[in-house]
């Protein structure tokens, strides 16, 4: 019999005992649904964890430092150890641009964090200010913030950390829209004097030869700048290596960079032979996704800089989730295994019921093979329908769980999450799995039907 005829006959047979076949199909659907719901929760939780972690800005970042910056600080190499093959690479603007031009690098920025004095409505407050890059907006820390994120990296806008905002006002929300004045220490480079630096004229100075090659240095001048408060954030966004650098008043990083604010590492920088060029103690490199961290890290190391990332942590996390998904999948499959017994039962019943029909088909010229394929097709169709229905049901269960969870989270003032995820590969493989299981369940009934003696079958009333 041709496949089309076979399918038509199978569909007709399924329609005939519609209640029993529907119940069997429903059994498969429930099995598939439990499998899909379990796996979607597993994948959903994995995606959630990945998203949260990547949002934390720790797992898609490479922290770059100059390899020899500690050694360069007057600590001499032990005499027996060989000298470094090449001079210490300095993290300057050129290096920053070079790193930024690497593929998969989204952003390269220095850590800017400094103590400051804030003036709000005439009252002074001291706090720590941090420069925040544009990419930080995607980080979890700014989810659910009050007000807005910086309109641009050049805007004179500030975001307050909630605890600091509470210090400033008993009604922190009212601070949004107000202006504050930030005092900071500006670095002003000193002009280079022939033969040495400016300090040569100072009393007790050494001969000018000793100052050769040193940077001319800078003076520190207090300055003020006005910022508009545009938002309040609950958490302290992480900046810098490992997220340890935190600030309570946040301003756009680019604004902070243009201010030439004196930072702690400037003291070290002034001692290096970097001329008047700006140098960085460390740079944070934001990579497109955690999977590309390794390649970017390698490229930067190849350039001669030290790097640090939390890549290994994501690797073990992936392993944990792989095992987690496997177990969820096994438990989900158990329901499908039970459902497959339902198929065996339904088809065996169908053989008893359709004995005479099988006899007639054989008398009319059906081969054993045709009968076997007919029962197989019926099992397959039940598997297909059960699979489609089950995936839908599983998706609904996942959605309902997400909804319930979000209601719970909402009551606790927490941001909503996507608890379950049903990617296309899960839809396809769940339906395929359902068909395979159904066909396997159909093997016994189909071969039993095929072997039926037509004469006995025709005699059956």
């Amino acid at each position: 019999m041709k496949t089309r005829d076979l399918t038509e006959l199978a569909a007709r047979n399924l329609r005939e005992a519609v209640l029993r076949n529907s119940l069997t199909t429903l059994g498969i659907a429930v099995g598939v649904a439990s499998l899909v719901a379990m796996l979607s929760l597993g994948v959903g939780l994995q995606e959630l964890a990945n998203k949260r972690l990547s949002k934390s800005g720790l797992f898609d970042a490479v922290f770059v430092s100059s390899k020899t910056n500690q050694r360069g600080l007057g600590r001499q190499n032990p005499p027996e150890s060989p000298a470094p093959k090449e001079p210490a690479k300095i993290l300057d603007d050129e290096a920053r641009q070079k790193i930024a031009s690497l593929t998969n690098v989204v952003e390269v920025y220095p850590e800017i964090r400094f103590p400051s004095e804030i003036q709000l409505e005439g009252k002074p407050y001291s706090t720590t200010v941090a420069g925040i890059p544009a990419s930080a907006k995607a980080e979890g820390a700014f989810d659910g913030m009050k007000g807005n994120f910086f309109s641009s990296q050049n805007a004179d806008e500030a975001i307050l950390q909630i605890e600091f905002a509470k210090d400033l006002s008993s009604q922190p929300d009212l601070l949004i829209g107000k202006s504050l004045v930030m005092r900071y220490a500006e670095r002003q480079a000193l002009p280079v004097e022939p033969g040495g630096n400016k300090s040569a004229a100072a009393p007790g100075a050494k001969s000018s030869d000793e100052g050769k090659g040193l940077s001319p240095g800078f003076s520190i001048v207090p300055k003020e700048k006005t910022f508009h408060i545009i938002g309040i954030v609950e958490t302290e966004p992480a900046t810098g290596i490992g997220g340890f650098g935190r600030g309570r008043l946040l301003i756009p990083l680019q604004v902070a960079e243009t201010l030439r604010i004196t930072q702690a590492n400037d003291l070290r920088g002034i001692l290096r032979r970097s001329g008047s060029q700006r140098t960085y103690d460390s740079l944070t490199v934001r990579v497109k996704s955690p999977s590309q961290v390794k390649s970017v890290e390698d490229a930067i190391q190849h350039m001669g800089y030290g790097t640090f990332s939390l890549l290994d942590a994501t690797k073990s996390l992936r392993l944990v989730f792989a095992v987690f998904d496997l177990f969820l999948g096994i438990f989900g499959s158990l329901a499908l295994a039970v459902a497959s017994l339902g198929i065996v039962n339904t088809l065996v019943m169908a053989i008893l019921e359709r004995r005479r029909e099988i006899g007639i088909l054989k008398a009319l010229g059906a081969a054993d093979r045709d009968i076997r394929r007919l029962f197989f097709a019926e099992a397959g169709v039940m598997g297909l329908l059960g699979g489609i229905f089950g995936v839908t049901l599983g998706w609904l269960i996942g959605t309902a769980l997400t909804f319930g969870t979000n209601v719970y989270l909402h009551k606790r003032d927490l941001p909503p999450i996507d608890l379950s995820s049903v990617p296309w590969w899960m839809v396809a493989s769940a339906i395929a799995f359902s068909i395979v299981v159904s066909l396997a369940a159909g093997i016994y009934p189909a071969s039993r039907a095929a072997k039926l003696n037509p004469v006995e079958a025709l005699r059956y009333e």
């Binding site: 041709k2 007709r12 059906a366 045709d370």
Partner: protein, 215 residues
């Protein structure tokens, strides 16, 4: 059947010539239906041989037997054996599906067979909506649709009143004459067998009692 010899049941040797209309007569349990099933290739003999068109059914694979039933044999039963959930048209089309006849050809073949049994007006009816006579005619159309060379009828009038039964037998006779189809009909009605068949074979207890013209 055809030019073939048929050995069946218990030491039974029967030969049916092409285009012959043979009645197999006997009481119940005489082995006449078994002989018919052996001819149809629905059953296999434990010993002996059944030849149809020169091929021994006893030595055929089950696949070949299915082919034999599909292409060479048309069968009509006492209980009609139409599939209740199919319309008349679908029932008649079924052997064409099994024989993998091209879809475009099927409608014409069904119409031809249904016209021959004069049921064209009932194409979309289900068996339950047809009278007994109509059901048997539908079964006959189904048996003819694959244009077999041999028609085997197992008590075709057994479930019908005598007028309707006569009409069916008349139809069988007509088909036998017009299409030259070889016919073997199992019956226990000696009068009718005498009226319609060319030859009557009588069986009892699985043995051949008589084989001759119009006994």
């Amino acid at each position: 059947m055809g030019d073939a010899l048929v050995h069946a049941v218990d030491d039974v040797t029967v030969s049916v010539r092409p285009k012959e209309f043979v009645a197999l007569l006997g009481s119940s349990g005489s082995g006449k239906s078994t002989l018919l099933n052996l001819m149809a290739g629905l059953d296999r003999p434990t010993l002996g041989a059944i030849f149809a068109h020169g091929r021994n059914l006893a030595e055929m694979s089950s696949e070949d037997l299915a082919q034999h039933r599909s292409r060479t044999i048309g069968m009509v039963f006492q209980a009609f054996n139409l599939l209740p959930r199919m319309t008349l048209e679908e029932n008649v089309e079924l052997p064409l599906r099994l024989a993998e006849v091209d879809r475009n050809e099927r409608a014409g073949r069904v119409r031809e067979a249904v016209d021959r049994v004069r049921l064209s007006a009932r194409l979309t009816h289900r068996p339950s909506e047809l009278s007994g006579g109509e059901q048997q005619r539908a079964a006959l159309a189904r048996a003819l649709v694959n244009r077999p060379t041999i028609l085997l009828a197992d008590e075709p009038t057994g479930n019908l009143d005598s007028a309707t039964g006569d009409a069916i037998l008349h139809l069988l006779q007509e088909i036998n004459e017009s299409l030259g189809m070889t016919m073997v009909m199992v019956t226990h009605d000696r009068d009718r067998a005498a009226r319609y068949a060319h030859r009557i074979i009588t069986m009892g207890d699985g043995k051949l009692l008589s084989d001759g013209n119009r006994i």
